[in-house]
Assembly symmetry: C2
């Protein structure tokens, strides 16, 4: 670590401070996950992987990879001949922010980013099913509510943000490709809620803390009747895509000679149901092993199908 | 992974889902850091470590350790004969929330938790100095502000929360012990600001996104003139300590036969200045190697000095 510039720290090689990548190592089409183990599993679907000689839980030898000292793992190769990257980012809105900003800083031209995550289901989607949210809102603990003074008598203990939308073409393509891999009856559409805690802001009951979250599920459905999933990252991806500019793009770098959008990032997401919050069921290891690679292939198919 | 109960998932062994620890593996006195490499460095100060035969970047053989599949590292041993743990949690408010809640769930009796982090300095504290914040507030991007509709004409782009206080005895003890290790003129007191982004919510300028954060430093100082540091986790620790209950404690488990507090967690924090935001300076590797172990010893001294 020998960083310069506290405004946007990079090392002497040009690697960003947290994700640890530099220009040339990341494709414009990115699949992002939380768990590094999932990234390694999905990398087995990339071109040229010698599956017989690639032990499970190892990164295929023909691919570029970089594990940063702060827990990010980047793997770059091609899928059906098109350059793609997989980036594992860990958990939470702050980690998604690191990932989007540090990747944007080292890639030229427009980007497509699709998240493949896990989630809790508030709808009828069962464990092992896939949800593709067209939009996402943020569930934040209203920390001030818990300060113990009288200012907040009328405030609510959780703040629910406005909905930010996924790219409609990416969402449509994901639904189509997920259905092809897993069957129509295992693929769901709706809206995602991203929470700043796995516990209080997802309505989990924990007597060890004052959480005031008994009515949270009801409030989520009142806020957005089509609320389908709860997880911890997707909102930030959709939000940053919508607030991305075209600042880093020279006009010559934009495909077809002109920008189709004021944003340089187009984003979508899908998630596997790990927890069914209405029935309290949790996914089995066997279901994860079965669904994860198929869902990954559907994301790669979508990443290379959508035009930049 | 074979979890039960979507409300508070634990595996068949009783390990929590993300931090991965179970009852009996964690001490009531915990030093928490972000970077696993820092946890391993600090573990060298624990009792019975054979420094000659413990290579750098390895966990001493006499200590318990557990690395979870989601990036948490727990190391437990003793310091001056008192059981202590070190837990590396990664980055961001959501990761601090995982850590506090999953640790609280598997430890009986009252807990002391002290964070040793890194930060940016908004004050005169120089790179390599230590700051010990008596309180912390949260800087959150006001996501709704960026929705592009007219609802938010009067809203500000960032929300600054109320201040939550550290445990005063822990703070006082930390200042004393840090000064003994590093000298009075390298130890600072003040208030911390915890941000939900390393970039926009810490006032970093990035043309790739619409951030509206040019005036953020001014607003922080107006909100709290004694704002000293910016980082990404401490607020959540102070907040959860203040909202912790005594629910998990049987009366017999409380020291002296009675509870001194309505909270089961007492918390403090200190941070090394890595970035000087006024001069744009960044810490050198040599300064980290020099300061980190001394700061760690001062935290351990404080953890075992304060009565549970």
């Amino acid at each position: 670590m020998s960083m310069t510039n506290a405004n946007f720290p990079m090392d002497a090689e040009g690697r960003t401070y947290h994700v640890g990548i530099k220009r040339g190592e990341l494709a414009n089409r990115v699949l992002t996950v939380g768990d590094p183990a999932r990234a390694i599993t999905l990398a087995r679907s990339l071109d040229g992987v010698d599956l017989e000689n690639t032990p499970a839980k190892t990164i295929p030898a023909n691919l570029f990879s970089y594990a940063s000292h702060r827990g990010f793992l980047t793997i770059t190769g091609t899928y059906k001949g098109v350059p793609v990257s997989i980036v594992a980012i860990g958990m939470g809105i702050s980690m998604m922010d690191f990932f989007v900003r540090e990747c944007r800083a080292v890639v030229d031209g427009p980007m497509l980013i699709i998240r493949l995550g896990s989630c809790g289901s508030l709808s009828d989607a069962a464990v092992g099913d896939i949800c593709v949210p067209s939009g996402s809102y943020l569930v934040q603990r209203n920390y001030d509510f818990f300060a113990g003074d009288s200012d907040n008598a009328s405030a609510k203990p959780y703040h629910l943000s406005k909905i930010f939308q996924a790219d409609p073409e990416i969402t449509k393509t994901l639904v189509k490709n997920m259905s092809a891999k897993l069957g129509d009856n295992h693929v769901w559409s709706g809206v995602n809620a991203t929470a700043d805690s796995f516990y209080s802001s997802q309505g989990r009951q924990d007597l060890n803390f004052v959480d005031a979250n008994q009515d949270l599920f009801t409030e989520l459905v009142e806020h957005e009747p089509n609320t389908m999933t709860l997880e911890m990252e997707t909102f930030t991806l959709y939000h940053l895509a919508k607030t991305s500019t075209t600042a880093p793009l020279g006009q010559s770098q934009v495909s077809n000679g002109e920008s189709k959008s004021k944003n340089s990032i187009r984003a979508g997401a899908c998630m596997m149901v790990f927890a069914q919050r209405k029935t309290n069921a949790f996914i089995t290891k066997e279901d994860v092993v079965r669904v994860e690679p198929l869902a990954g292939q559907a994301v790669f198919d979508s990443l290379v199908e959508v035009q930049l």
